[in-house]
């Protein structure tokens, strides 16, 4: 089956920043992404879990964005502007996609 090269960018970010990240990413011309819930985690600021939490102050989400390579820099700039002062992790992986016309 015919596949096409693309980039898979995974941004783990505080839930409270999700709308800001979404906006920044969309301003950078990227409209496709998927957001996964996160149960818990650990990092320099300690361990946490969402169990029983009602606030949105703790808790993160993971945004997955599959894009053509040429849009990568725009996306990273947009993401960086949001995560810069915040906790969060950005990772990029090379991938292949079906139906390249969608990206």
């Amino acid at each position: 089956m015919q596949t096409h090269r693309a980039k898979r960018v995974e941004i783990t970010i505080e839930a409270i920043m999700q709308s800001r990240l979404t906006e920044a990413v969309q301003k950078a011309g990227i409209t496709g992404f998927t957001v996964l819930p996160v149960l818990g985690g650990s990092g320099r600021s300690g361990e946490w879990t969402r169990a029983g939490e009602i606030g949105r102050a703790s808790g993160m989400v993971q945004m997955i964005c599959i894009i053509r390579s040429e849009k990568l820099d725009d996306l990273l700039d947009a993401a960086f502007s949001v995560v810069e002062r915040h906790i969060g992790v950005v990772s990029i992986v090379d991938c292949e996609v079906l139906r390249a016309e969608r990206f």
Partner: protein, 325 residues
């Protein structure tokens, strides 16, 4: 004094407090007991809806008080002023950075709606009535403290400012919208509306509150376990001193306004309590460098249990003594 002790004693062995204690204990003992996030949110939606609705019904049946406007204003002023006191106190009592101190201060100007709910439930058990619009005052006190704290930081030369988005997020915070919305629904539908849904919003209320406090205990205990490192003696002392100072400011305001005994108690409780939903979220956006484990542990792990167990009976006793009922 004896009365306070009796009230505190009664308060301490209520299912509500004991449920909170069970949560803290389970969490400290590292039990895997946990309430799913969605269930905890559902409980909080129920509580906000019920408390707002009942406040509105009470306003609809007792009519609007001339004092409503003034009480709201007093609430806003208290919410804006208390962070300044808290900030000053923190700089004296602790070694927190300006940033952390401002973030903590914001929490103490704002309010904890569960503490408010627990207080109304103590008032009910003691047959002390209060103004229904205190729910609206609670809503009005959520946000101003955040602005004060950000002003404290910007005064320190840091160019950080409130943006419009954050402002909207704070004012249209889900819990404020639900509380105020349910208040208006209660107001509009009145006793008739209450009759329709009282077996939902009144009858099971305290039981739901127990489960909610069980969850808050679990979360608080987890916070204490993880955040105990930040609880230096000075910080800890602040977490107990500040609610007392806040309650005295609330007491003064309540007496000046001529509120009922119950109203004075609730004003004290609102001033004494510290936010753990709206303000932490705003701080993560506006002051991400401030350490959340300091303000969350203080607010939920120290001040909340203090108010729940000792604070509320103390405030009830003081208000009862001073309003001469």
């Amino acid at each position: 004094m004896e009365q306070i002790l009796t009230l505190a004693g009664n308060n301490l062995i209520s299912p509500i407090i004991l449920s909170f204690a069970l949560g803290v204990a389970a969490s400290l003992a590292r039990s895997d007991l946990s309430v799913p996030e969605a269930a905890a949110k559902a409980l909080s939606i129920y509580l906000l809806f019920a408390i707002g609705f009942k406040g509105g019904v009470s306003v609809s049946s007792h009519g609007i008080d001339a004092k409503l406007g003034l009480t709201l204003l007093a609430g806003i002023i208290l919410s804006a002023a208390l962070p300044l006191i808290a900030f000053a106190l923190l700089q004296v009592m602790t070694k927190l950075s300006r940033l952390d101190a401002a973030a903590v201060a914001a929490h103490y100007g704002s309010i904890s709606i569960v503490t408010f709910v627990a207080a109304t439930s103590v008032l009910e058990s003691s047959d002390i009535s209060s103004e229904g619009y205190m729910v609206a005052v609670a809503a009005a006190m959520e946000a101003p403290a955040i602005l004060s704290a950000l002003w404290l930081i910007s005064r320190g030369g840091d160019g950080r400012r409130m943006d419009g988005d954050l402002m909207r997020e704070i004012m249209l915070n889900g819990s404020i919208v639900l509380l105020v919305g349910a208040f208006f629904i209660g107001w509009a539908t009145g006793e008739e509306g209450l009759a329709e849904i009282s077996s939902f919003v009144v009858a099971p209320f305290k039981g739901v509150l127990c489960l909610f406090l069980l969850d808050m205990g679990l979360v608080a205990g987890r916070g204490l376990r993880g955040g105990s490192g930040v609880l230096r003696p000075g910080v800890l002392a602040f977490g107990i001193t500040m609610p007392v100072i806040g309650s005295i400011c609330g007491l003064g305001a309540g007496l000046l306004l001529g509120l009922s005994t119950g109203g004075v108690v609730l004003m004290m409780v609102l001033s004494a309590s510290a936010s753990y939903i709206a303000v932490p979220a705003a701080m993560r956006v506006a002051l991400p460098e401030a350490n959340p484990s300091i303000y969350l542990t203080l607010s939920l792990g120290v001040t909340f249990p203090f108010n729940l167990t000792l604070g509320i009976p103390l405030y009830v006793a003081l208000a009862t003594a001073l309003t001469g009922v």
